[in-house]
């Protein structure tokens, strides 16, 4: 099934920016994704052991007893992200169960990298109070100082490490 080309990144960026602006105008806040994920993690932990969650000063904010974990703007926004991505993939023929990786490694190694990178990002995202969508996009648009610092650190860190993992992509 032929894949359509990606859109011009500037146009896609404008589309994204308008969506972000709409969020500000309608609800007074921007986008995000890691906020929903930490809620999922806290909730899963609380189903195993509620007391452990209550004792932990971080998880208790999200899934302590009496906290309605999923009654949060981000949770529903993230569900929408999945649906929106699906719709766009459907319309452009990019729905496929496959693994994307560079020509010099196998899928399985890619999975290990993805998992490891995921751990780093999960950790880093909560340390920085958000991920690229929450801090960089949203914070960037509102000119928050910390968010801009975050953005530059992100690109800096990425470029520094890129050389060491180039086998995976190139």
């Amino acid at each position: 099934m032929e894949q359509k080309k990606y859109w011009n990144p500037y146009l896609a960026g404008i589309g994204l920016g308008i969506t972000l602006l709409l969020a500000f105008v309608l609800v007074g806040r921007g986008l995000g994704s890691s906020g929903a994920m930490i809620r999922v993690v806290s909730w899963i932990t609380s189903t195993f052991s509620q007391s452990h969650v209550d004792a932990n000063p971080y998880f208790v904010k999200y899934a302590g007893s009496g906290v309605n974990t999923f009654q949060n703007w981000l949770v529903f926004e993230v569900i929408g992200v999945a649906v929106g991505g699906f719709i766009s993939g459907l319309l452009s023929g990019r729905l496929k169960f496959k693994t994307e990786h560079g020509p010099n490694i196998t899928s399985k190694i890619r999975w290990i990298y993805a998992f490891a990178g995921g751990i780093l990002m999960g950790f880093g995202a909560r340390l920085a109070y958000g991920c690229a969508s929450g801090q960089a996009l949203t914070g960037g648009a509102t000119l928050a100082l910390g968010s801009w610092a975050f953005m530059f650190s992100l690109f800096g860190g990425g470029y520094l490490v890129a050389y060491f993992v180039r086998r995976q992509w190139l």
Binding site: M1, F76, I79, V83, I87, L90, L91, G93, L95
Partner: protein
Amino acid sequence: MNEIEITSGRMNPHIDPHLTIWGWEIPVYLFIGGLVAGLLFFSALFYIRGNKDKYPTAVKIVPIFTFPLLSLGMFVLFLDLSHKFYVFRFYTAFRIESPMSWGSWTLLVIIPLALAWSLTWVNELWPNFKWPVNWISELIEKLKNYQKQMAWGLLILAIVLGMYTGILLSAFNARPFWNTSILGPLFLISGMSSGAALILLISKSEEEKKLFSRIDMVLIGIELFLIIHLFMGFLASTQVHIDAAMLFLGGEYTTVFWIFVVGLGLILPLFIEIMEAKGLHVSAKLPALLVLIGGLILRFVVVDAGQTSRWLYKFLE
């Protein structure tokens, strides 16, 4: 009526936050009822039109599910009863004014009919299957002669069953959210849509999948229309009904209803099916699954919201 005394005595969050007496059993039963109604409807319809070999899943395979599903539904209903040992009394009298009586008798007729219907197809599907006792095979042979009559009976009873699941609720006019005649048709169409979705899910023939995908699209469209008019009707009624509608337009049921029932359960499957009809390839199982889950959640939401809406003391202050 002493409703006020009951209200003040038990109306606290620890006993009866809003006098809920129907838990999860009734919505599950309503969903199964609607699903079976849809399945039997399509099975009988396509048999009568002479398409039993063109659409084998719909006519022959699907009825096999109906008997177990109906039994499950009756069991769930049984679980909901407070005085379980008196369940037989449903069948010792017929009260023409009670929707529950109508329902129990209709089910009493449908269950053996559905069983007989599904048994007549067993030999066609599995020709090597031999019944352990001879008189069963003889009985089934005799039943095969009455397939046409059974089909007509099932067609009509399926519509009655589907409508009944909605009318059961709308008979309770004391609950403003159920005080609408749209619930009957809405649940019937929703049940038929669930039936079409299940057929889509298990069918193996491309032709059949295309047909039921189209049928499902039309049914979803009608369902959306009915939902819109449901709310229009409420908003044009008395203040109590407007408050009931506001539960879904800014109240506590807004999120679940519009995102999961309408968005993911109706509009998204409709969109996927339209794209599929236009040629974009995507598995038919996905919209079917979404429709089924959406239908289940619809039943839960309607039953729960109905019990939250009230004529007196609008807000639990």
